[in-house]
Amino acid sequence: MKEKIFFGGLMGMHARIVELLEKEESFCLATILGSNRPDIRPGQKAIVHHNGSIEGSLGSSQLDASLGRLGQKALKENKSTVVEMDSGLSVFLNVLSADAQLIICGAGHIAIPLSQFSQQLGFQVTVIDDRSDFANPSRFPDCEIIAEDFAVALRKYPFSPATYVVVITRGHEHDVDCLIEILKRKTVYVGLIGSRRRVRIVLDMLVEKGLSQSRLKDVFTPIGLPIGAESPEEIALSIVSELICVRRKGPAQARALRKAVGIE
């Protein structure tokens, strides 16, 4: 039985969690904290997926069904919590999320502090630029670097389950090339830097190329939380603040913060 093997060793469990974190956006790890049943012991674990299915049965279809429902609720609310179930079971439902991946399009002066800050905050960072003297390991230690045409690089790049993209290229044509490729894909966040004028030009060009207004509304532009940033480092900080806000509180909260100072 698969479940028996699954429980057979915690090593197998950890390997399975690692495997899932590399391909799923999120799932729920249920850990038994307390139990009145001799066959269910504290520390025992099961995994609940978004569809309510379970890996690592509790040995009772009724308990599994109830755990599935509770796990789904925790996933929906994105909130780790302790629940009480039949048989005196107390269970910690831990929502585990994939590592956030940040793709930085444009390896200019803002990209350097942005890559440093976001790495420290737990993002896996990839930098793309068509200029190999900019997209260069000497400028971005510990980042994945792709020195290639933006559209070509983005088209073949595997987006993770939790991908954030920041578009800060040196010219509006490159912004357009990037966004055409990015907006075809599933992302958690897309941000575009630029003055109001440059942003308007880019968005108009994308509409001309047939992108829908509703998809373009998903792009955070001008980019970053409004903290009055001026220097490259300050701008990078304002961008990562927005990334954290989206990661922790969701895009609606980041929109609300912008709206509070009149950025729609």
Binding site: V18, L33, P42, S80, V82, A98
Partner: protein, 106 residues
């Protein structure tokens, strides 16, 4: 900061080296605490730690409970940490909240 993926990769790596480890996970919080439910810290038997359940605030209590559970009882346990010391307390835990931490030897 260590992500969930990094924590579980590190756990696998330590177990492969046959190192006795303990995982501490915040399961519930009330009031102000530095980290939310789900924050994790690995405690190795030599005292090395990876990840964090909130820095200075209460981490020493977690560390000693982890060593007790790994070396003595070999059983999971839940500990309650109170961060509501008065402001004047020297080196006190004054964040203002309480947390429950699940400690499991692995």
């Amino acid at each position: 900061m260590m992500t969930d993926l990094e924590i579980f990769k590190k756990l696998s790596e330590l177990k492969q080296q046959d190192i006795s480890v303990c995982l501490a996970t915040i399961i519930e919080t009330t009031g102000s605490t530095p980290r939310a439910a789900g924050a994790k810290m690995i405690i190795c038997v030599d005292g090395t730690t990876y990840g964090s359940v909130g820095g200075g605030c209460g981490e020493n209590q977690v560390r000693s409970a982890a060593l007790r559970s790994t070396l003595v009882t070999h059983k999971p346990e839940i500990i309650e940490i109170d961060l509501t010391d008065d402001l004047g307390t020297k080196g006190g835990d004054v964040c203002g909240g309480r947390l429950r931490v699940f400690i499991e030897p692995l």
